[in-house]
């Protein structure tokens, strides 16, 4: 398993990319988590009658996203905006409450465990916390061999070992790490191992959930470089979840900005950073601590992010938005495509009130 892995397959990826079908397609995705416990706990005595009452956290409320082959789509937003839930739903760790997820045209959100297996090999995930994402009782060799053995049960022992050696070399870890356990390594080294585990089965699509947030600055650069090298060498497509806009600007080809479970703006990275349209995107961008300016002018947002239990009516951002009017309080804005390739969900932008 060396030739298929190391050389990108131009024919295959081209023919598929040409017909314009996105690799991953998310349509109307919603995810609610119940806050009310099991059936017995939901029963409440109200007005002399027994009623069943359920409260939900609305983590995602109708997300539409498309990822083309070869793209690195970054999803940014602040904590609680639902970006990690999107990642976990795409990977099948959570079941969507509504909506659908298509991978290369096939619907995958309602597949059985067995039917999902081929997709499990093609889609891999990298997690945030390198201290928790490696099983403390397994050696590095065992950790890396496990996914290969699972997805290629017919491979010989030697072939599995060769594949592990190869993937270890490609993420820059020495072969003699194999006999060791995760806790013997630093955070950056563990994240390399976690990336090696994801790459071991030769995937084409990687979901990375804040993969560098837990790392030190100098190590962040190492891991980000590694992810970019892997993207180039293996022709990978990324769904990259992060809160760090500086990383987005560097890594992403397109950016989706999320707020309270909805996408408020999607745009090519350069476009978004040059001309952020949505008022929330503008506030977010002005908050990045930059080295250059001494006296930053942050856009102050009023109030706080509302709880995702009781969603505001209309645009979820209206209570904090300086441009909000009556329409914003009532009507949910839809993503509307613009000439520069961006999509913005904002009545103000649509009406030309906000430039």
């Amino acid at each position: 398993m060396t030739d298929t892995l190391s050389s990108p397959r131009p024919e295959a990826s081209h023919s598929r990319a040409d017909n314009g079908q996105p690799l991953l397609e998310i349509r109307g995705l919603e995810k609610r988590f119940s806050l009310s416990g099991d059936f017995l706990e939901q029963l409440k005595f109200k007005g002399g009658r027994l009623v069943r009452e359920q409260e939900h956290v609305h983590a995602i409320n109708g997300v539409d996203l498309e990822i083309q082959r070869g793209e690195a789509l970054c999803v940014v937003g602040e904590s609680g905006c639902g970006k990690s839930t999107v990642a976990r739903t795409v990977m099948g760790l959570l079941h969507p409450s509504a909506g659908e997820i298509r991978y290369a045209g096939e619907r995958i959100d309602d597949l059985s465990t067995q039917a999902l297996m081929p997709y499990r090999r093609r889609m891999q995930m990298i997690f945030q916390n390198p201290y928790a994402s490696l099983n403390p009782r397994m050696t590095i060799q065992q950790t890396l061999e496990e996914p290969i053995r699972l997805h290629h049960p017919d491979w010989s022992r030697q072939r599995v070992r060769d594949q592990v050696d190869e993937v270890m070399a490609s993420v820059g870890i020495a072969a003699d790490w194999g006999k060791r356990y995760g806790h013997e390594f630093s955070g950056g080294q563990r994240q390399r191992i976690a990336i090696a585990r994801a790459l071991a089965v030769d995937p084409e699509f990687i979901v990375a959930d804040e993969p560098i947030s837990a790392l030190d600055v100098s190590i962040q650069a190492q891991v980000l470089n590694l992810l970019m090298d892997a993207r180039r060498d293996r022709n990978l497509t990324y769904l990259f979840i992060t809160h760090d806009l500086a990383v987005v600007e560097h890594f992403g080809t397109r950016v989706a900005v999320m707020y309270l479970g909805r996408v408020c703006e999607v745009a090519p990275t350069a476009t978004l950073f040059a001309t952020p349209r949505h008022p929330y995107t503008q506030a977010l961008m002005s908050a990045i601590p930059r080295l250059e300016d001494e006296r930053p002018q942050h856009i102050r947002l009023e109030g706080e992010v509302p709880t995702p239990v009781h969603l505001p009516s209309g645009c979820v951002f209206h209570a904090r938005c300086p441009h909000a009017n009556a329409r914003c309080r009532e009507e949910i804005p839809r993503l509307i495509a613009r000439d520069d390739g961006s999509q913005v969900a904002c009545h103000g932008v649509e009406e030309g009130r906000i430039d």
Binding site: R88, L93, N129, S133, P136, A174, D176, E184, D229
Partner: protein, 318 residues
């Protein structure tokens, strides 16, 4: 594709012996005289129990060796003792030292056997409940609650009564050891199940389990290969406590006449057999096995305490 940075170097790989030598386990053991003493006593106990047929001056199960005329002889430090019976004899003329050695053997076998059964049931149920959650969790945990509301005594009475009624007392006596293992094992598995479930729930939230799931591993493999090894520490700790508890349970059952018959006495039935003679001044038949039982349970509990402190991850960073 080797545009990567050169492989990073790692510290030299320690051998298995070096790992043990540098481990926190050994370090804390060396600094804890109570743990050392407890382990020593426990090892002596186990060795004596295992070697009882060779160590004991006589075989208390062999009726031919029992001299009824030599009954109720006091231990060696009291006037009227017989040098042949160091610890004296019981009411049936059995050498008390030999009986205690054999009795400790029975107690330990039942203790470990019952805990093995508890662990098997508890670990499997706890893993299933914790990992699968939902209805299975609710069902298994309610089952555990129900089980716990029947005391060990109730289970023993029911099982004992059933066996005696169906197969007769003779069968019960013959199969007393496996029956007691079954009774105590059945009665106390919920302790394990609860502990295992709690730590499974904690582990389940960790990203390595998510990683295993996104890989597509079957649930069974995730449970046994990924989660179970990471819940071993609490299992070890609870095992020590449970062994002590099982020995006490067995002693209590035997004392009440629901356990080992007096022909094959455990420590508990020895205590019971001597209890009737305390009034007549033959206190040693009860008190010496009693003291042995207390010491045995004490050292196991002390070892368990030490183990809990060592394996507590919060105190780990020494």
């Amino acid at each position: 594709m080797t545009t990567q940075t050169s492989p990073q170097q790692a510290p030299p790989l320690p051998s298995r012996w070096e790992r043990l030598r540098d481990s926190y386990l050994l370090y804390s053991f060396k600094r804890d005289p109570i743990a050392q003493l407890s382990l020593l006593v426990f090892v002596v106990f186990v060795a004596c129990a295992v070697l009882a047929p060779w160590l004991a001056p006589m075989n208390p199960y062999d009726l031919a060796q029992i001299d009824i005329l030599a009954s109720e002889l006091p231990p060696f430090w009291i006037d009227g003792s017989d040098p042949a019976y160091v610890m004296g004899t019981d009411a049936q003329g059995r050498d008390l030292l030999s009986t205690i050695l054999y009795g400790a053997r029975v107690s330990l076998i039942i203790g470990f056997g019952a805990v093995a059964l508890q662990a098997l049931l508890g670990v499997v149920f706890g893993l299933l409940a914790g990992y699968l959650g939902g209805r299975i969790d609710a069902f298994l945990m309610r089952l555990a609650d129900i089980q716990l509301s029947f005391s060990t005594l109730m289970v023993a009475i029911v099982v004992g009564a059933l066996v005696k009624a169906i197969f007769g007392s003779a069968t019960f006596s013959t199969y007393a050891v496996p029956l007691l293992v079954l009774i105590i094992g059945l009665a106390e598995w919920p302790q394990y199940a609860r502990t295992v479930r709690a730590s499974v729930l904690a582990e389940k939230g960790k990203e390595y389990v998510d990683a295993a799931r996104t890989m597509g591993l079957p649930s069974r493999r995730i449970m046994f290969r990924h989660i179970l090894p990471n819940t071993l520490s609490p299992i070890f700790v609870i095992s020590t406590v449970q062994v002590a508890n099982a020995i006490i349970s067995e002693a209590a059952l035997s004392f009440l006449g629901l356990g080992m018959p007096e022909t094959h006495p455990s420590l508990g039935s020895l205590i019971k057999s001597g209890f009737d003679y305390i009034q007549s001044g033959s206190w040693w038949i009860t008190l010496i096995p009693g003291a042995v039982l207390v010491v045995l349970v004490l050292v196991i509990n002390l070892l368990g305490d030490w183990l809990r402190d060592v394996l507590n991850p919060r105190l780990y960073k020494g």
